[in-house]
Symmetry: C2
Subunit: 404 residues, 2 copies
């Protein structure tokens, strides 16, 4: 199994970016809970936010300031999501941004603020605001892992990944830091991902390439089908490498695209592996649908089926549950053409089962921590793949054993 | 809590209908697993079947024969769903219907055949066919509970309900027998419901009234969002009471409609209460949406959220999870107008929480076996309500602890 756990002592540096983290009392036991990224020069920026109708105030604020498409800094607190907090919650975001702007000497509207943790509680500004100065004072190129740890909530490990690329004697980096493990905790959690590069990028190209990478990574994972009020994925490009990409034809663009996809993919799968009580990471591939949209719908219906997910947990090659989920996805297809594979093992051909021998092979495959389920519809060229986790006792324990 | 468990010794009789059940070795330990309903005169009939693309052969056959809209008999086996069995499985259905037709002296195309149990295995005709004669020989007006027990799979109790109605000195009955407890078992299960009345009914009126009742009962429950390949709800009307309803204006129609709704509602909620490891039956009401379709979408998104369902299990009034589920339902509404109630206790008003005191009250309410969650959007007149269960350890145990 590909390891999604980050090596503990791995220090990721990205030219032109500084990091810091501090404890201001939002988490128990003096754990790191407030963190900062500073780009030494203004960075072009683009972000994908949650589409939840109850988007939290920091997301509303982020959407607004990112219309200008550049940032100097990012501040993130864990322990309080500042969601369901209304106008007062929005004012709190502005106060954090203003204080950071003052301390760092940059316009407040170039400071993105993110929050993750409990919802329905106002941000404790008395704890946060005095700590902004601390964050500035402790900025360092080598503190990326502190940042990664500070933004965690119930994550079992911090999530970081970096790709270094050489182009014509020069080099650039794509570095990502994320948190998220499904929607967790008494009052839920959030996916946050910050990707930094020292490239300079043409802004429309940057937006388009990031959107594509997000769709194939963070938007192609399904832990429990729930979506947080605070989800944010950010890409910053500050040009510190001296390299610039202006079009898809620029030398190095293909490598940048590949590196960006790798970083996003790694972080997304690390979240799945860290999903609430997850014991499996399962790739769901749907091929041969009439359209990509239909393939997507089928893949998500399979990935969200509680019956399918419990069968993954039980290592039971229950193709019947996969078949039933395909059947109620609301997509029109001919069931008599459907093949289902677990890994490379065919279990269903032309809508009919292939028997016990194949199921026993598939059962052995499912003992692995990661495997794939492939559905071939033979009805077109539409394809989609996503990653999901299993559903076991630990999910129930984490999500139910709490009482207000 | 309203009791959905049927009284063990309650014998339901319906004029003009006979029942029987036998054991033919599909279930272990000689349990009843094959059963029959015979209408003493041809009954008008209408049915709602699964919309799953992988509809099982008995469903395909049922759809075909019910185009003629009358039935003499129903045969049901438990222990084998005859699903994922292709052309051979379809031939098996025809053989069972033919044998029943021969034995009972009725056209085979007036015999509905249903199956529930494991999928992907051919029906053992050697066991079933010789037992048809036994079923005929043991037919009795008083064997409805035997029928109810025979069709159970992992149901914890048989599901029966009857309403007797008096109209102008005469009386008629609406009697329902059902099985189902979510999708269960290694290779899943099914919802089957057979409703019988001794009224004579105008066929279009019968179809319309049944569809409405099914939509508000069997189609308004959500155990795990999964839908079986074999789901069937049938209404038969044989006229044995001597009463006839030809239009919505007929005397007694309103009472019939009410009785039909009550029977369907009772059976549907009995399934929820018997849901896999369910400890709660929760009514989800969405009001004030722009349209009924939007209200329905919102209600189902809340009911299907694993996070919401685990919070019901944990008796945690986690309005934040309800709010988040509403937010990602893909429905356009103004979050700042949303109120959420648990029972009569308001937890969210205008999109903002009302505080700990209310949450403590709601926690006490949730200790009950049944309660409601109401969402008021204040944006129109669209309303929908459905019933769901919680998600606890027992669901995982039932669905995961199986290995091929």
């Amino acid at each position: 199994m590909y390891s999604f756990r980050s090596k503990k002592n791995k220090v990721l540096t990205v030219p032109g970016y500084l990091f810091s983290a501090t404890s201001c009392g939002l988490k128990a036991k003096g754990k790191l809970d407030f963190a900062m990224i500073l780009s030494e020069r203004p960075a072009k920026a683009t972000a994908c936010f949650t589409t939840n109708r109850f988007a939290a105030p920091p997301v509303e604020y982020g959407k607004k300031i990112l219309k200008k498409s550049y940032l100097n800094a990012v501040l993130v607190n864990a322990g309080n999501a500042n969601a369901g907090t209304g106008k007062l919650g929005y004012d709190s975001v502005i106060q954090v941004a203003k204080r950071a702007g003052l301390v760092l000497g940059v316009p407040p509207e170039t400071v993105l603020v993110s929050s993750t943790g409990k919802i329905g509680r106002q941000l404790p500004l008395k704890k946060l605001l005095p700590s902004v100065e601390n964050l500035k004072d402790s900025l360092s190129a080598k503190s990326s892992l502190n940042f990664a740890q500070a933004i965690c909530t119930t994550d079992r490990w911090p999530k970081v990944h970096q790709v270094k690329v050489k182009v014509g004697g020069k080099s650039f980096h794509v570095t990502g830091i994320a948190k998220g493990a499904g929607m967790i905790e008494p009052h839920m959690a959030t996916m946050l991902a910050y990707i930094m590069t020292d490239l300079d990028l043409n802004l429309p190209l940057m937006k388009k390439t990031f959107k594509e990478a997000v769709n194939q990574s963070f938007n192609a994972i399904s832990v429990d089908g729930d979506q947080s009020t605070n989800d944010t994925a950010l890409l910053m490009a500050n040009g510190s490498s001296g390299l610039s990409l202006s079009s898809t034809q620029s030398p190095g663009f293909a490598k940048f695209r590949e590196a960006l996809h790798e970083v996003c993919h790694h972080l997304a799968l690390s979240m799945i592996a860290d999903g609430e009580g997850a014991t499996k990471v399962v790739e769901i591939q749907v091929q041969g649908a009439k359209t990509e949209a239909q393939a997507r719908k089928l893949a998500y219906t399979v990935a969200r089926s509680q019956l399918v997910k419990t069968s993954f947990f039980g290592q039971d090659p229950n193709w019947g549950r996969v078949l039933a989920a395909l059947g109620y996805a609301g997509v029109n297809f001919n069931p008599q053409k459907v093949d289902i594979y677990y890994g490379k093992i065919p279990l269903v051909q032309g809508g009919l089962p292939l028997g016990d021998k194949h199921e026993k092979q598939a059962h052995r495959l499912m003992k692995q921590g990661t495997f794939s389920v492939k559905v071939e519809l033979h009805q077109g060229k539409g394809a989609f793949r996503l990653w999901t986790s299993d559903l076991g006792y630990e999910y129930i324990r984490i999500n139910a054993e709490y009482s207000t």
